[in-house]
């Protein structure tokens, strides 16, 4: 169980050690201490290991993660879990802007609040936020699920493609081409699964509303041919 102290070891050395973890390695649990807001902590990990970061981080924490299960015992700066491929990232505190941006897979859990542009251009990632999210969440989201137990800010799901958005609280405003949609049995099942994976037990799937694309913006319509110029 290696422990890396970022107060003593450099960031590049830390990330290199994590990148060097081979298949079948016995070093399956890693602790990172004293992150003190450092950028790019545990970026590009490509192994089924567990990593706990003891403290708050800066930009791009756990970006491009593949397979690893990463827990941040604090808050994260902009771009956390950006372009995640698989595995999971759990943030015990808050997340700054564009958490989970462009994520292609895996699960991002934010136990606190997420600020603006959470899940922007998401492409298959699942994101569960225990608190509230800021404006422009899931902007141009293509696939995956965004589950918000609290409230959403302005322009939720602006220009959204096929990402599925669930909000339990209020939505300040919907973005262009984003509409409320019926919550059917299959959506309840998805919510139950994702809430379970996030360890959230005091929130019922039936309390959410579903939002998604009206499909008027991204589908070519011959009636609008003039507008496409």
């Amino acid at each position: 169980m290696p422990t890396i102290d970022l107060a003593e070891s450099g960031l590049r050395s830390l990330n290199k050690q994590l990148h060097d973890v081979g298949e079948g390695s016995n070093e399956t649990h890693w602790d990172i201490i004293n992150p003190r807001g450092a950028h790019a902590v545990a970026v590009g990990v490509n192994a089924a290991i567990a990593i706990t970061i003891h403290g708050s981080t800066g930009y791009y924490c756990a970006g491009m993660n593949r397979e690893a299960r990463i827990v941040v015992q604090g808050s994260v700066g902009p771009g956390a879990a950006e372009n995640m491929m698989s595995g999971s990232v759990t943030v015990m505190g808050d997340a700054s802007q564009y958490a989970g941006a462009t994520g292609q897979g895996g699960l991002l859990v934010i136990q606190g609040n997420a600020s603006s542009r959470c899940g922007i251009s998401m492409k298959g990632i699942d994101i569960v936020v225990r608190g509230n999210i800021g404006h422009m969440a899931a902007f141009m989201g293509q696939a995956g699920h965004l589950v918000v137990c609290g409230d959403a800010g302005d322009a939720l799901g602006d220009s959204v493609y096929e990402a599925k958005l669930f909000v339990r609280g209020s939505v300040k405003s919907l973005g262009a081409d984003c509409i409320e949609k019926p919550l059917r049995a299959e959506h309840l099942a998805v919510l139950e699964k994702l809430l379970g994976q996030a360890g959230i037990t005091d929130v019922k799937p039936s309390e959410f509303k579903r939002y998604g694309s009206a499909r008027k913006l991204y589908n070519f319509s011959v009636d609008h041919a003039d507008a496409y110029g």
Partner: protein
């Protein structure tokens, strides 16, 4: 000293901001040390130049003028000459390229006029009962060292590290900007309507030292407060009139404010305890502050005015 190019007026894409507002008087002797530590963590956000404003050293009936001269000869005989003309004592404290002149508060307008006329090579950085402003080209820790920031004391302070992306790296282009007594502003971002706004403010009698967009924001807020608005009200009005990207941190004689534009791309973190309020462009700037582990730490909301006054 104005920057000449219109393009040169653009603000900065990156930059680092730090700010500290002390609530517990017991921390006031450490203000400079704390602010200096915070500024040092933001060097890589703005390695070109740095500046800071510190509010402290109030003496009843006296005010201060901070002046800058790149030529040390500019300070020779300055205080005595000014005192002779005013017929009143002037005390001068020099710090590297800057000097603080302290004189009777009611003589400030006259002193300012004399300085402009007799010492055109001097740049007036700031005027007020409490404010002192220092800014120079150079790596931020080096700039802070030249002015011995860590030894300064006071009730609040604001610092800035600048990464000039489109305009010249000059002393006068560095932040903070001060456009009113005991007022200052630092900025991360760029304003798009500053030329119109500058014309408007000039018509209303505001004076400008540079073509910089940040100075326009500072002058705008000064003008609003001159008309009787509080810092909080002036910032609120700014949301309607200032167009562009910005995170502002503003200081007044007794106040400290933060405002982000509605899009809120420019980073900002606030921390508050019973003893202080602190601002950083990133959490890294706050990690050495006392009791930061138990402080309330949050990202200020877009288009929301935050301000504290004592």
């Amino acid at each position: 000293m104005a920057e000449q190019s219109a393009i040169g007026a653009m603000g900065e894409i990156m930059c680092g901001i730090v700010g500290l507002f002390i609530k517990d008087k017991g921390l006031e002797p450490h203000l400079g040390q704390m602010l200096s530590d915070m500024l040092g963590t933001m060097c890589d956000r703005g390695p070109d130049s740095a500046g800071f404003a510190v509010y402290g050293g109030f003496e009843d009936g006296f005010s201060k003028i901070t002046v800058q001269s790149s030529d040390p000869a500019g300070f020779v005989g300055l205080a005595d000459g000014l005192a002779d003309k005013l017929g009143a004592p002037v005390r001068m404290t020099r710090k590297d390229t800057h000097a603080v002149l302290r004189l009777a508060a009611n003589l400030i307008p006259e002193a300012r006029a004399i300085l402009r006329l007799d010492h055109p090579h001097l740049c007036i950085m700031g005027i007020g009962d409490k404010i002192e402003i220092y800014k120079e080209v150079g790596y931020p820790t080096e700039v802070a060292g030249r002015f011995a920031l860590s030894a300064m004391t006071g009730s609040h302070g604001i610092g800035h590290t600048r990464m000039a992306t489109e305009s010249a790296v000059t002393t006068m282009g560095a932040h903070p900007f001060s456009t009113g007594a005991d007022q200052c502003l630092v900025h991360n971002g760029s304003l798009s309507n500053h030329n119109n706004l500058r014309r408007e403010l000039k018509r209303r009698g505001m004076q400008f030292e540079t073509e910089n967009d940040t100075e326009v924001a500072a002058a705008y807020l000064s003008q609003q407060m001159e008309q009787g608005l509080s810092l909080g009200e002036a910032l609120g009005r700014g949301l309607e009139d200032l167009d562009g990207f910005y995170t502002f941190v503003v200081g007044t004689r007794n106040g400290f404010g933060v405002l982000r534009d509605p899009i809120a791309c420019k980073p900002a973190v606030l921390a508050e305890t019973d003893r202080y309020v602190a601002f950083g462009s990133e959490y890294r700037a706050l990690v050495n502050l006392p009791e930061i582990e138990t402080a309330k730490v949050w990202e200020p909301e877009p288009a929301t005015v935050y301000f504290w006054e004592r």
